[in-house]
Subunit: 348 residues, 2 copies
C-alpha cells in the first residue's frame, strides 16, 4: 500500500491522461494523442519527456520502441489510488439498477443471484456475489419432517431469510406426530444459534432434557451432526460472455484461462476476499491481479455489503485490468448498498 504519491503535478496529469485514454480505446497512447485528447497546453515533445520519466519510474511501458505507452500494473495502481475521481452514476445506470431490484424481493438467494446478473449486464464485466458465510448465519427455524419411512428432511431457515434443505436416510421410521415434540424443542432451543456449531450446541441441551425420549434425541443428534458444516460460502457468478467483448480476450487461450478460473469457486472466493482485505474499511476497493499470481491481467472491483450494519459478504465485478474503474467503482458501491438494504429488510 505504500505507493509513494511522489509525482510532480504534471506527471500525475499525464499519467492520468494515458491511463484514461488507454482504458477507453485499448490502444497504446502516444504523446500527440495525449495533448490532443486532453488539450493540454504543452507540446508533444514535452509530453514525451515526461512519459519517458514515467516509464523509468515504472508506471508506463511500451510494447516496442516507437509504440505508444501503456500503463503498467503499477501505473494502474497509482491511478486508482491517487488519480481516479470516482464518477457519479448516470441517471440511466441508477434507474436501471434500482428498477431491477424493485421486483420479487422474497428470497435472499434469489436476490444475490439476480445481483450478479445485473452487475454483469450493467458493467459488461463478470459479476461476483459472495453469499453470507455459514458462520454468520443463525438458525431461525428448524424442522424435521418424515418424507417416507426411511427418510427424513431437514429444513432450516437462517436469519438472512435463506431456506436450506437436506435429506437423510434413517434406520428406524418415525411419524410426523412423533416428531412434533422434538421440533418444538429444537425451535425453542436453537433459535439464534450459529449454523456452524449447531450440533455442538444441541448436544449439550439435548442430553439434559430428553432423557425420556432417548430414541428421538439420538436421532436428532446424529442427523443434525451430519448437516454439512463449513460448507464453503456460496458464490454467484454471471456474465462470462460479457468479458469476451474486450479485446484482451481476442486470443482464445486467455479466454479459456478465465473460463477455467470460473470453474474454481474457491479461488474466486479468495480473490474476492483478497480484494476485500485491501479495503481497510474504505468501503470500495480495487484489486489488481499481481504478476505471477494466476490473476495476472485481471482486476476486481469489490465492495462489502452489510446486513444489520454488519459486513457479511462481498459483491464485485471481475474483468481485464484495463477497465473503467472510475465508473465501475460507483456502480459496485451503489449496488452493494442496495443489496445490503434489501437483505436487511428481508431478515426482519
Amino acid at each position: 500500500m505504500a505507493d509513494t504519491p511522489e509525482l510532480k503535478e504534471r506527471e500525475r496529469q499525464i499519467l492520468q491522461a494515458v491511463v484514461h485514454s488507454y482504458i477507453t480505446t485499448a490502444e497504446p497512447v502516444g504523446s500527440r494523442t495525449v495533448v490532443k485528447r486532453f488539450d493540454l497546453d504543452l507540446s508533444p515533445a514535452t509530453v514525451r519527456n515526461v512519459m519517458a520519466d514515467l516509464e523509468e519510474l515504472g508506471y508506463l511501458g511500451q510494447l516496442h520502441t516507437s509504440s505508444g505507452r501503456v500503463p503498467t500494473e503499477m501505473g494502474y495502481r497509482y491511478y486508482v489510488n491517487y488519480l481516479m475521481r470516482v464518477q457519479r452514476l448516470t441517471v440511466d445506470e441508477r434507474n436501471r439498477i434500482d428498477r431491477e431490484f424493485k421486483e420479487k424481493l422474497n428470497d435472499a438467494d434469489e436476490i444475490l443471484r439476480q445481483t450478479s446478473h445485473l452487475l454483469a449486464l450493467v458493467t459488461h464485466q463478470a459479476g461476483l456475489v459472495e453469499a453470507p458465510a455459514e458462520g454468520d448465519a443463525a438458525v431461525q427455524r428448524i424442522e424435521l419432517m418424515p418424507l417416507r419411512t426411511d427418510r427424513l428432511a431437514v429444513l432450516m431457515v437462517d436469519n438472512f431469510g435463506r431456506l436450506r434443505t437436506f435429506t437423510f436416510d434413517i434406520e428406524t421410521s418415525v411419524s410426523a406426530v412423533e416428531l412434533e415434540p422434538l421440533n418444538r424443542f429444537l425451535n425453542e432451543h436453537l433459535y439464534g444459534v450459529s449454523t456452524d456449531n449447531l450440533a455442538a450446541e444441541l448436544e449439550q441441551k439435548l442430553r439434559n432434557f430428553f432423557d425420556e425420549q432417548r430414541r428421538l434425541a439420538e436421532m436428532a443428534l446424529s442427523i443434525l451432526g451430519r448437516i454439512p458444516r463449513n460448507t464453503p460460502a456460496q458464490l454467484y457468478l454471471d456474465g462470462a460472455s460479457q468479458l469476451f467483448d474486450q479485446p484482451e480476450f481476442k486470443d482464445i487461450s486467455r479466454a479459456r484461462e478465465v473460463l477455467e478460473l470460473f470453474d474454481e469457486r474457491e479461488r474466486l472466493m479468495t480473490l474476492l476476499r483478497e480484494a476485500g482485505a485491501q479495503s481497510e474499511g474504505a468501503g470500495n476497493t480495487v484489486y489488481i491481479g499481481e504478476e505471477g499470481s494466476g490473476f495476472d491481467g485481471l482486476s476486481v472491483v469489490a465492495s462489502p455489503y452489510e446486513i444489520d450494519g454488519k459486513p457479511v459478504g462481498m459483491i464485485g465485478i471481475l474483468g481485464p485490468r484495463r477497465m473503467p474503474y472510475s465508473r465501475l467503482t460507483a456502480v459496485v458501491e451503489h449496488t452493494a448498498e442496495l443489496v445490503g438494504r434489501l437483505l436487511t429488510r428481508i431478515a426482519h
Copy 2:
C-alpha cells in the same frame, strides 16, 4: 428423415473415411490421405473421382478448389444415420462414469447436476441435463410452516425425491399448532397429485371439508395457488470451457455466440427436445444444427432417461458439428441409463 441411403458401396466407404478422418484431425482430407489412412486398395485418382461425385451429391464440400474435402451438414447426417458403428465404451470410460455415480446418491437435483459435470469431463463437450418436468412430478409430501408472524414457508417433495421450497408473505399470522390439522389434511389429500394442477385439485377438496376452518382454508388456497406453476423445467449445463479446446472456436466470435446461447436456457431446452423428437423411440439420437437455425455448426447427442420406465427428460452433450459421434453416443446412452436407474431407486 428420408435421406436416401442410395450410395454405392464404394461411395459409402469413402464418405465414411472422409468423415472419420476429419473428425479426428479437423483438417480437410485429401484423396491421398484417404487411401493411406484407411489403406484402401485404390489409387488416389479413383478416390478423387468418387469424392467429386460425393461433392456433387452434396455430402462433401471444400473450402476452395485444391483443398481437401470436408463433410457437409448432409454428409454428417448420412454418416450418423447409415455409416456410423456405435462404439463400445472403453473400460476406462465405463469405470470412470460408474465410479462417479457411486457416491452421494441422496439428492435427485445433485445427481442431475453431477451428471452434466461428468458428461462434460468425459466427452470434452458441454453437458446438458434436463430435469423432469413439473407436469410429470407428483406431490409426495407438502408442508406449510410459519417462519415469522408474517411469512410462511412451503416445502414440497415430489415423487422424484426433489425438495422444493417457497416462501410467502401472509397478512394474518398463524402458528405452527394452527397449521397442524391443515398439514395433515393436505398430505392426506394431495398425495400423488401432479404439481401442475395442485391448486385446482385442492380447491375442490378444500371447499367441502373445511367449512369450519374457513380462514385456514382460504389461506392454503391462496398460497398454493401462488406456487409458480409451469416453471420452465430446469436445465443443468456444464463444461463450457471444454468446448473451447476445439479448433472451431479458435476465433472468439464463434465462442461468444455459444457462450451467449448458454445463457438462453429456453433455447437450449427446445434444442434438447428437438433432438429428442428426432429419436422416434430409437433411444439415442443425434441432432445436427441446421443452417440458419441459430444452431448452425453445433450438434447435440441426446438420450432420454427413464424413471420407473417412463421417459421424463433428456440428457446429452453439445459441441461442434465435428465431434466423435460414434464414441459419444455410447457415453451418453450409458449415462442416461445409469441416471435413470439411480433416480428410480431414489424415487422409492
